[in-house]
Assembly symmetry: C2
């Protein structure tokens, strides 16, 4: 019996978060939300949190749908492995959204807590006024 | 000659950033600024960057001077060692300042780039309106 059990698979947490961001940028919310735990918290700090993959999908769908191109530039990313499939990743990004014929940009620092290979907490820190000003056509 | 050279000392970057924060919280800006490179950039993202230890000291002195207590709670901190004295640290904090008889609080995500044992970049992400609202006496 024991011979049939495989050793715990060590997940590359840095790659996991980059794959998740790749799905967001590709607007593949089905693939992105499949990487979240059932009770995942997604917290846009100045706006407040939502809970669960469906709430994440519902929250992101309208805005991402308006964008004809999305580009998240990861400046720095740091990962800490706490177990084979568990740990914490933080990154510093420039999130860029092309909509209405122009690029909207917001500097972001993100936290990702991974449990059993799934994201249980995604928290993004940014300045809401910077985002809103970048959204306004006059900027 | 070679026998007299010691092996490169590996700096604990996680501990280095916690020590730096300890100096800030203790309002010991002399000790804190001694941990910065001469061309260190301190970037409060929604407000813009300053360069050099003296500019950091000049920028922080008035505000910290108004506080009779400072408490920065580190929720998560992740460090990546790129060399014996080089790497990147990111953390998620609640920065608390006691002034005017009340606590002002702001959730922050910070990036610290360390080169040769000194901090060359310190960049804090937060929502400026959240900080200002917490500062206003009516909140």
């Amino acid at each position: 019996m024991l011979g049939g059990m495989s050793a715990p698979h060590t997940v590359d947490l840095d790659a996991l978060v980059r794959r998740f961001i790749g799905f967001i940028v590709a607007k593949d919310l089905t693939a992105a939300c499949a990487m979240l735990t059932p009770d995942c918290v997604y917290d846009n700090v100045p706006m407040g949190p939502v809970t669960g993959p469906e709430a994440v999908r519902t929250g992101l769908t309208p805005f991402l749908g308006e964008c004809d191109q999305i580009d998240w530039v990861v400046h720095h990313q740091v990962a800490r492995q706490d177990g084979p499939e568990t740990g914490v990743v933080m990154n510093e990004r420039l999130d860029r959204f092309h909509l209405g014929g122009r690029w909207v940009e917001v500097p972001v620092a993100g936290l990702f807590v991974i449990e059993q290979g799934l994201i249980s907490l995604w928290r993004d820190y940014f300045d809401l006024a910077t985002f809103r000003n970048s959204m306004s056509p006059g900027s």
